[in-house]
Point group: C2
Chain length 516, copies 2
C-alpha cells in the first residue's frame, strides 16, 4: 500500500514539474534582486494571515512601518480562524485571581514532558515571559476572553484562556478588524508567495508572488501544480516575516516525513496548509528540524470532515470531566487528561481492533461537565449531529453499541475515583476536576478519530524570531519566521493551547523588531 | 543547562561566520558555473570515501568514467573503516546453505519495527534485491567473510555477514586497494568539499573544495570555523555523488535537532562526521527528513572513548548469547536482543539510577558465547582492558559490585529460560541461540554507556539514489546521494548491520547510473 502511494505521487507530481522549474529564476536559487523590477515597495512583507502574521502586522504598523500581508487563500486566518480558540496564557489575570500557582519552570516542564525532551526550551521561556503581552494585544483589538480557565490535557494547572465564541475566529476577527482600518497595512488575499528575492550579500530584500491566485483543492500538490495568477515582485526594505503555517494538508511532503500518513488520512487543517513556503526558505539557507513529527488531534470525530464541531466538546467536556471507552469492551483504556501523542496512540490502537479499522472510542460526559464549559462547545456539535444527548446511560450504551454491564461498571468505578480523588487505573488528575463526575443526566457522547493537526517540524529560529542560516550559523539577514512554520518550541508533540501563544509571541517579536 | 549550552554555541559560532559568508559566492546560493574557471575536469565527483563513495567509484570506473573522490580527513574510510564490519546480506550463500528462511517481507518488517513505521520501504526493498550484488562487489575486491552468520539484535533471522578481521576496514581496505591502482580514479584526501556549482538550469555541474585542508578537532564547528586549504573547482560532467556520511559529531547541528544531545555526549563517530555537506545540498533544493532521530549505540563502553573495542563483544557475545544486568539490583531489565532504540532507552534509565549518572549496566557471557563468534571480538577488548575475564560468577560479581545472590539467581533463571526455549520475563529469542547459556567458565563482562552512533536524518532520495528537489518534486539534475547523508530508509531507528548494505547498494546504484 505504502509503496503504491509513494509511486502514485511521483506520477502525479511529474505533471507540473517542468513548467514551474522554468518559471523560477533557476531551479535551485531564489531570484537575485539585480534581476528584479519591483512592482510595489513596503518596509515589511508578511506571508500569512494567521495569529503570527496578524500580530506582527499590528506591532509593525504601531511603529509606523508600511506593511504588506500576503494570503494565498480567499479568506484570511488560515488554521488560526478554524481552531478552538484556546490559548495558554500563564500568569493571566484570571489565573492569578483564582490563586492558581504557575511558573516558568512548570510551563516549560509540561511542554517538555509531551515533547519528549526535544523542545527548544529557550523559546518556551520567551513565550512564558510575553504571555500577558499577547493577551493585551488581543484585548486591545477587542477580543473577549471567558473567565473560565481551561485546564487543558497534559497541563499541570489551569492556565489557558478561551475566546468567548469558542473559536480562534474570536481573535482573528478583531485583529483583522483593526488592520483593515489601518492605513499602514495592505492585506492581499488570493496572493501566493512563490519565492524570496535576495541581494548579492544573501540578504532577503523582497518576495515574488502571484496575485489573483486561485487555490485548487483538487490538485495533489497545489504548490507544485497550480500556475494561476499574475506574477508580482514586492520589495521589503526592512525584512520579510514567514508566518505561513504548517504542512498538515501537504499530501506530498507529509508522507515523505512520515510514510504512515497516507493521502487518505483526514486533517483538521484548512486545505492550503502546505510546505512550499518553508521549503523556499530552505533554499536560501534556512534549515528544518523535527519534520517527521506530525501530530494527530485525539478529539476529532469520524462523523464529520476536517476540524469539525466536536473538538472542544470532546476535549474539554469529555476528556477533562468525563471518560472515554473502547466500544468493544465498554472499558476505559487511557488517561483522558494525558497529552495528545499518548492519547492519539491509544485511540489508534483501539480503532484498529476492528477489521474495518472503525472501532472508534466513545467519549462520555454529563450535564455538570457541559455546564462547566463554554455552552457553544456542546450546542454547536449537537446541532451538527456529531454529539448526542441521552436521558440515561442505558440509552447512550445502546446508541453506541456498548456492552451495557461493563460500561455501567466503568462509569461507577470512575465516579468512585473522582470521589476518592485518585484514579488507580490510569492516573488521571481526578482530584483537580472540582468533583465533577459522570452522574447527572442528561448524558452526552461523541466518537473519536484522530486527524493530522499540527506539524512539529519547521525552520530553526532564535529567540528573536530570526531564521538561522546553515551556512553562517547566524540569522539570515532580512528573514524572520513565527508560528507553525518554525520548529523546536513544541518538541515531538505540542501541548494543547500552546500554539496560539507561540504564534502570537513570536509574531509580536518580529513585528516589534524587523527594521528596528 | 541546556539553555546555557545553546547560548554558548552562538557565542562560539559567531567567530567564524562573517569570513566564510564572504568567501561563498553569496551567503545563500551555490556558485554559478558561469562565474567559475574549473581547475580540473572529471566525469563524476564523489564526496566521501566510506562504503557508499568507494562502491560508487568502483562501479563508475568499471564503466570507463573518470572519477574524482574527495575526502576531507587525512585517511580514507570515514566511519566505515572504524565500525564492526557486520553487513546485513539477506539471501547470502551461507544463509541459503544453512537453510535459514529469509524474505523481502521479513527483511522490511524487521526494519519497520525498530524504525517505528517511519521507514521508506521502497528503499529497503532495493537493498534486499541488491544484497548479493553488494557481497559480490566486496568479494571481487578481495574482502573476506566468515561463514558464521551474525544473528543481530532486532532481526528475526541470522542474515548478517562479518568481515574476517572484525572491522569495516575489512571492506574499506580491499576497495581502496583496488581503487588506488585504478587509472580512472583520483582520490584526494585532506580535500574538503565546500559547495556545489550549478548552471542556470539548476543542474549540478561541479563542486568547490579546498585542497591541503587540515581538519581541526578542537574547533566547535570545523565546517564553520576552519579556513585552511587552497580553493579548487572541479567539473563533474555527468554528476556528483554526495556520500559524506552523518552528523554524529556535529556538536552544533545535532543539538539543534535533539537538545538532549549536549556537546559533552560521546559518539562512536570519527571527529569529522558533520552536517555541512548535507546542508549545502539543502541550499540547492534538496531537503531533509527525520533529522531529529539520532541513534545511540547500546554496546559502547564508558571505559574507553569513541567507538572503542568493546562493541562487537557486548553486542554479539553478551547481548546475543548472554545477559545484561542492572548493577544496583543484579537483575536483567530488558530484552538483550531487542533493537537499538529499545535497549539504549532501557540502559539510559538504569544509568540514571545513580546520582552521578554512572550506574552502567553490566554485560555478561561465558566461554561458549566467545567461541561462537569471531575470536577478535573478545581478544581485542580484553587487551584494551574494557572486557574482563573471570573464573567464576562470584569473582565477576565482586569486580562489578553486583549483589551476589540476586545476580546468581538471575543467571540461573536465565539459563532455565534458555533450556525451556522461552524467556517469560522479556521475551528474548532464547530458542534461537543454539542452546548457549551462561554456565561454562571462564566468564566475560563489559559495561555499557550508549553513544551517538547513526543519524537517521538526511536527504530525500528515490530508489535510483537521485536527490529530490523541493521545488520540482523531481530529481535535482546532476545530484545523487547515498549512505548516512540520506534519510528515510531506516526510519526512526536503524537496525544493526543494515547500514553497510544501505551504503553499498545505493553507492553501487549511483556508480552504475550517473551519466549512463
Amino acid at each position: 500500500m505504502q509503496d503504491v502511494s509513494r509511486r502514485s505521487f511521483l506520477k502525479i507530481s511529474a505533471v507540473g514539474a517542468g513548467a514551474l522549474a522554468l518559471g523560477a529564476s533557476s531551479a535551485t536559487a531564489a531570484q537575485n534582486a539585480k534581476d528584479v523590477k519591483f512592482d510595489e515597495e513596503y518596509d515589511i512583507v508578511i506571508i500569512g494571515t494567521g495569529f503570527a502574521g496578524l500580530a506582527a502586522a499590528i506591532k509593525a504598523s504601531g511603529r509606523g512601518k508600511k506593511v504588506l500581508v500576503l494570503e494565498k487563500m480567499g479568506r484570511a486566518g488560515g488554521n488560526s480562524v478554524i481552531n478552538g480558540g484556546n490559548m495558554a496564557a500563564p500568569m493571566n489575570k484570571f489565573q492569578v485571581a483564582q490563586g492558581i500557582k504557575d511558573s516558568k519552570e512548570l510551563f516549560i516542564a509540561d511542554a517538555v514532558k509531551d515533547g519528549l525532551g526535544l523542545n527548544h526550551t529557550d523559546l518556551l521561556g520567551v513565550m512564558f515571559d510575553r504571555s500577558n503581552d499577547a493577551v493585551d494585544l488581543l484585548t486591545s483589538c477587542g477580543a473577549e476572553f471567558s473567565d473560565k480557565l481551561i485546564f487543558e490535557s497534559g497541563h499541570s494547572v489551569a492556565r489557558s484562556l478561551q475566546s468567548t465564541n469558542g473559536s480562534g475566529s474570536g481573535y482573528i476577527q478583531p485583529m483583522m478588524g483593526k488592520l483593515q482600518n489601518d492605513p499602514n497595512v495592505t492585506i492581499k488575499t488570493r496572493t501566493k508567495f512563490d519565492d524570496f528575492i535576495v541581494d548579492d550579500s544573501g540578504r532577503v530584500v523582497g518576495v515574488e508572488a502571484r496575485e489573483e491566485y486561485k487555490f485548487d483543492p483538487k490538485l495533489f500538490s497545489d504548490d507544485l501544480e497550480n500556475k494561476s495568477g499574475e506574477k508580482k515582485s514586492y520589495k521589503a526594505k526592512d525584512g520579510v516575516l514567514l508566518a505561513s503555517g504548517g504542512y498538515g494538508r501537504d499530501l506530498w511532503y507529509r508522507q515523505i516525513q512520515d510514510p504512515r500518513v497516507v493521502p487518505s488520512i483526514d486533517s483538521t487543517n484548512h486545505p492550503g496548509s502546505s510546505a512550499g513556503a518553508m521549503l523556499a526558505a530552505n533554499r536560501i539557507g534556512a534549515f528544518t528540524l523535527l519534520t517527521s513529527w506530525i501530530q494527530f488531534l485525539p478529539y476529532c470525530s469520524p462523523d464529520e470532515k476536517g476540524f469539525g464541531a466536536a473538538v472542544n466538546f470532546t476535549n474539554h467536556c469529555c476528556n477533562t470531566y468525563g471518560l472515554t471507552v473502547d466500544p468493544k469492551t465498554g472499558k476505559r483504556f487511557m488517561d483522558e487528561h494525558a497529552g495528545r501523542k499518548i492519547k492519539a496512540d491509544a485511540c489508534f490502537k483501539v480503532i484498529a481492533e476492528s477489521e474495518k479499522n472503525d472501532n472508534y472510542p466513545v467519549n462520555v460526559c454529563d450535564s455538570q461537565a457541559v455546564a462547566a464549559r463554554n455552552p457553544v462547545y456542546t450546542s454547536r456539535p449537537l446541532e451538527a449531529g456529531v454529539v448526542k444527548k441521552f436521558n440515561t446511560l442505558e440509552e447512550l450504551a445502546k446508541a453506541y453499541n456498548l456492552p451495557l454491564e461493563p460500561f455501567l461498571k466503568t462509569v461507577a468505578d470512575y465516579n468512585s475515583y473522582v470521589k476518592a480523588g485518585k484514579d488507580p487505573e490510569f492516573g488521571k488528575v481526578v482530584d483537580k476536576l472540582d468533583g465533577i463526575d459522570v452522574s447527572k443526566p442528561p448524558f452526552y457522547a461523541s466518537r473519536t478519530m484522530p486527524k493530522v493537526h499540527h506539524t512539529m517540524g519547521g525552520l530553526e529560529i532564535n529567540t528573536k524570531a530570526q531564521v538561522i542560516s546553515s551556512l553562517t550559523h547566524e540569522p539570515i539577514p532580512g528573514l524572520w519566521a513565527a508560528g507553525e512554520v518554525t520548529g523546536g518550541v513544541h518538541g515531538a508533540s505540542r501541548l494543547g493551547t500552546y500554539a496560539i501563544l507561540d504564534c502570537m509571541v513570536f509574531g509580536m517579536i518580529a513585528g516589534e523588531t524587523i527594521g528596528a
